[in-house]
């Protein structure tokens, strides 16, 4: 359910496979969220570091939450370099009913942004620059400084 890929995602292929995997599961609503690298500030692309052990347990906690509402989550993310106009992130919720799906995709994507142990770098003039300004401190950060 949690898939990591080197480089850009094959969006059409992943969506097709996920849709087919659940084609007999009797879910009424399927909402994928696809994140694509925007051309801005002269970047050539983005690059990602992922810390898989904590990403996995974060995802499993969400999967459990989804299960309690009769829903299911899937997620794919890139590791390494992704050029502009290519995609680095897909998450999706399947649910019997639309309200659960609409609420869950929003909460999941927002918590992903705030909590998933993934670090983003701009690729600019061949260099990898940490996207510090766009990054969010994980809840509970700073305890070692106290």
């Amino acid at each position: 359910m949690l898939e990591l890929y080197n480089g850009a995602l094959d969006v059409a292929g992943i969506l097709k496979r996920w849709y087919e995997e659940e084609s007999k599961s009797n879910y009424g609503a399927f909402i994928p969220f696809i994140g694509t690298v925007r051309e801005e500030d002269g970047i050539e692309g983005l690059s990602f570091d992922v810390y898989e052990p904590i990403l996995k347990s974060w995802f499993e906690t969400w999967q459990e939450k989804a299960k309690q509402k009769g829903a299911k989550l899937k997620m794919a993310h890139s590791v390494g370099d992704v050029p502009v106009h290519e995609s680095s992130y897909i998450s999706a919720v399947f649910s019997p009913k639309r309200r659960v799906a609409l609420e869950m995709i929003e909460e999941f994507v927002e918590d992903f942004k705030a909590s998933a142990p993934i670090w983003k770098y701009d690729l600019k003039n061949g260099k990898r620059v940490y996207a510090k300004e766009r990054s969010t401190k994980i809840k509970g950060s700073g305890i070692l400084y106290g």
Partner: protein, 73 residues
């Protein structure tokens, strides 16, 4: 000894520290001026579980990870 690893952009090799609690780890890392900003902004995991307090007892071979601000997607 516990192993401390620095994730993502911190770009520092792991270090081995003699520590009984996270507080001990904090004391040692605070002596490294280059880590100051990262200590302020990073979350901490012990054996891949995020923790929210320094009162965590550590055992020989434990892994402590520093997770700087994130931005997936």
């Amino acid at each position: 000894m516990v192993k401390v690893e620095f994730l993502g952009p911190i770009a520092k090799e792991p270090v081995e520290i003699d520590a009984k609690t996270l507080k001990d780890v904090s004391e040692v890392l605070k002596q490294d001026e280059s880590l100051k900003e990262w200590l302020e902004t990073s979350a901490v995991a012990v054996n891949d579980k995020l923790v929210s307090s320094l009162d965590v007892a550590l055992s020989d071979g434990d892994k402590v990870s520093l997770l700087p601000p994130v931005c997936g997607g």
